[in-house]
Symmetry: C2
Subunit: 199 residues, 2 copies
């Protein structure tokens, strides 16, 4: 019923994650109201997509060969935080308290999805690690795949005599204890810490 050019537009929106036909139509209709300049802006952004690079050092997104974090001489080169995806790096950076470097794996080891250690950026992590590396912080999500990846990394890094830490698991701040799931409660008890006066 719709003209072909409009159907094409719906089609490209329907390919986006979590977008069904109804939402894709809504997006396509909103585009009909765009000015020529706004459309050109969208086209330019799409044309530039293939120029977005992966940082040669950490695997984060970059305009040039290296990302701004790896290029920043003010960062603490002794610490590397390992995350699964670029989004995770951004979440940590937003807090603004971590000043070390990162390594983006680009995925997680997963038996269900058939992702093996060689499919993600583990080799490049091992190559980066040198005598300056004091600590590797594993910051994968506490999911099945995240845990599996963390255990794997821990094993191979410890073989190399590197000090490995992992983000703490426990009760999320502001949550109600009686709403916490069993596994979180067990972790919170296992990882309990001595109270300090200024806590």
């Amino acid at each position: 019923m719709y003209p072909n050019k409009f159907i094409k537009l719906i089609d490209i929106y329907e390919k986006l994650p979590g977008v069904g036909n109804k939402t894709a139509q809504r997006y396509a209709f909103s585009l009909l109201d765009y000015s020529k300049e706004e459309i050109d802006e969208c086209i330019k952004a799409l044309q530039d997509v293939k120029e977005i690079k992966k940082c040669k050092c950490c695997g984060f997104l970059a305009d040039e060969e290296y990302c701004p974090i790896c290029l920043d001489s003010g960062r603490d080169e002794n610490t590397i935080m390992v995350v699964a995806y670029p989004q995770d790096l951004v979440a940590i950076e937003k807090i603004g308290t971590y000043h070390g470097l990162y390594h983006v794996l680009g995925g997680l080891i997963s038996s269900s999805k058939g992702v093996f250690p060689e499919d993600i950026e583990i080799d490049s992590l091992l190559k980066r690690i040198n005598e300056n590396t004091k600590e590797v912080i594993i910051a994968t999500s506490p999911t099945m795949d995240g845990e599996m990846t963390a255990l794997y990394l821990d094993r191979i890094l410890k073989n190399k005599k590197i000090f490995v830490t992992r983000l703490a698991h426990g009760l999320p701040m502001g949550s109600n204890l009686d709403y916490a799931d069993e596994l979180t409660l067990i972790k919170a008890m296992d990882n309990r810490q001595e109270m300090k006066e200024n806590d």
Copy 2:
């Protein structure tokens, strides 16, 4: 933190209706996995947006001057169904039981949004109506603006001695009576119909 080209990509997705920063990021990340061909397809669809026309007769979307429905000689020219938006036309067409023509207003009269009769395609509707027009079906949504537009159209069309009907209001099929809102129940009672044997 993200490279500029990626931020631009997030920006264009964030402009879509109902899309926040988090969803826009998700869309932008999904695009990074597209092949060169898929990106080119998206660019082509956007380039074609400004070539999508409005049908010169009914106001629906069209590749050429007229839409396929207006060009279809098999449609019943004696009936015109008036809808607010192209999406409404598509909803009716999907049922497949209506074989008349349409007229897309491109909006609804609205005192709150300051939309007046001259801002929507009412003039072009009046120009279309001729001695062949036996019935105009008003199919605006039963909302405040939809009702206002229906009343306005009814008045000016009746002045022209045209038979005007309106989609029925009542209980939606498969609904529970005790969940129906008051206004719907009142409409359902007012519009009650004599039972027929084959009902």
